[in-house]
Subunit: 279 residues, 2 copies
């Protein structure tokens, strides 16, 4: 099976390495607007060949869109215009806009909307690793709009990557993603800025790598080129969650201000319930 | 060297295991108000012996206070009343209150105020592990108030544990700890409550273990018995940082609300600077 990966960064590169390692794809063509990324992807044997999209498409069985969600949403309809037998898969963190963009496209059924739930705070082909998707969840959205052969191929790929497939409406996906991923990034960015603001006043803050700071703030290294389009496309849900989060923080603030330690204990005991759903 | 560990939980238990493994202490006596913790600490060979504090103190060279900071602040003066040659070390997450509580004590110099910067979201003797402190930072506060022999013994212990020792005024320590540790816990607690609130409305939130959520929220499992006293003792600093953090979150909210993506990019690019100080 020949696969074209559009976007040879963290996700596209990791997918390419995994497809090759698992024997799912024998030949991988890389397409990227960044020539340095293509060069590194070839050097690291992430891809076998560099080609312009128009040359890659006719010889591919699968095309995977692994670019920022704003660009994916623009490129997908153009890609479907040219598709014959191929399956087009995207792996973006938002699903409602991209599904809406091709909803009435006459070749919509060649497209499978998906979101493999894995990532790191790093980006580019040098951040790509083999097989990080194992035992992670992949969400496939609006499966009723994909042709059954296209859906089967996408499911087969994710099953051979040992991922847990769940199905969801694209709009529901975006609400959930705001809670399980997008808000974490905003709190990390804001926490980094809180500390960096303080650092201007004080001497260097000591040893940020301990005391829990590192784990809560590592996402603050994440790439704005990837995240701003996510916040744009998922604006309303992200705002809902952010408002709720600020209101929850306000409760902690109020308890500490008023020295209401009993209510603070209740808030923390309630937060501890996350143990139930987070191993 | 015989060491008494008061509090055989996560930190006390991990210290005991490390002191024994490194050959720093040959005999470890456990003191704890929780008989179940003592039993588990004996079963796991974390401690060699259980004894009441009054029996343990005279036969010890070192006494390590590893209990919640409110109880440590009350117990330390009583302990110093009975001290002869021993060194008393505490390992609490706040330092200003406990140092103030014994500032004028005639045996103050037997006490070394310290804060080894390591912890996890788990608690109790079953969470204790050997040698987690390696290459971590330990802050020793107000060293000028400790006798030179007591300070040397404490420094020797931490050096043999391969920790990086830094020295700081207790008040400065608490300001820094609010930034590098305490605020991370509040944001995690609040984030857990944000998601749990949502979960009541929606079906179960999917796969919280991916998308960055797990790392930002794992601290929300932390024990209120440990954390409420920290927030009590470090109330003013924690409120300062929390206000700054809410104000930083407000900037993200305002950008997203007003669709001011340029300013959002600036905020994220600024947050990315955390890379400089966080490897």
């Amino acid at each position: 099976m020949t696969t074209t990966i559009i976007g040879t960064g963290l996700i596209g590169g990791s997918l390419a390495l995994t497809l090759k390692a698992k024997g799912i794809s024998q030949h991988i063509i890389g397409v990227d607007t960044n020539p340095l990324h293509l060069q590194r992807a070839i050097e690291r044997s992430i891809i076998d060949e560099i080609a312009p999209l128009d040359d890659a498409l006719p010889v591919s069985d699968i095309v995977i869109l692994a670019i920022p969600v704003d660009r994916a949403t623009v490129l997908l309809p153009a890609l479907l215009d040219k598709v014959t037998h191929q399956v087009i898969l995207d792996v973006g963190s938002t699903k409602a806009d991209i599904c809406a963009a091709v909803h009435t496209h006459h070749r919509r059924s060649r497209y499978v909307a998906s979101h493999p739930m894995w990532g790191t705070e790093f980006s580019g082909p040098d951040a790509a690793i083999e097989d990080p998707f194992q035992h992670k969840t992949v969400v496939i959205c609006n499966r009723e709009n994909s042709a059954s052969d296209a859906l089967l191929i996408a499911e087969d790929i994710y099953m051979r990557m040992n991922m847990r497939i769940i199905y969801m409406d694209a709009i529901a996906h975006d609400i959930h993603a705001a809670y399980v991923s997008h808000i974490s990034h905003i709190t990390s960015f804001a926490l980094a800025n809180t500390v960096l603001e303080k650092e201007r006043e004080e001497d260097a803050i000591f040893d940020l790598a301990s005391g829990g700071f590192e784990s809560t703030v590592r996402l603050a290294k994440s790439n704005p080129a990837m995240w701003i389009p996510i916040f744009q496309q998922n604006r309303d849900n992200v705002l809902d969650v952010l408002n709720e989060h600020i209101s929850q923080l306000g409760k902690f603030k109020s308890c500490i201000e008023k020295e209401n330690w009993e209510y603070l204990a209740e808030l923390i005991e309630n937060a501890n319930k996350i143990k139930k759903i987070l191993k």
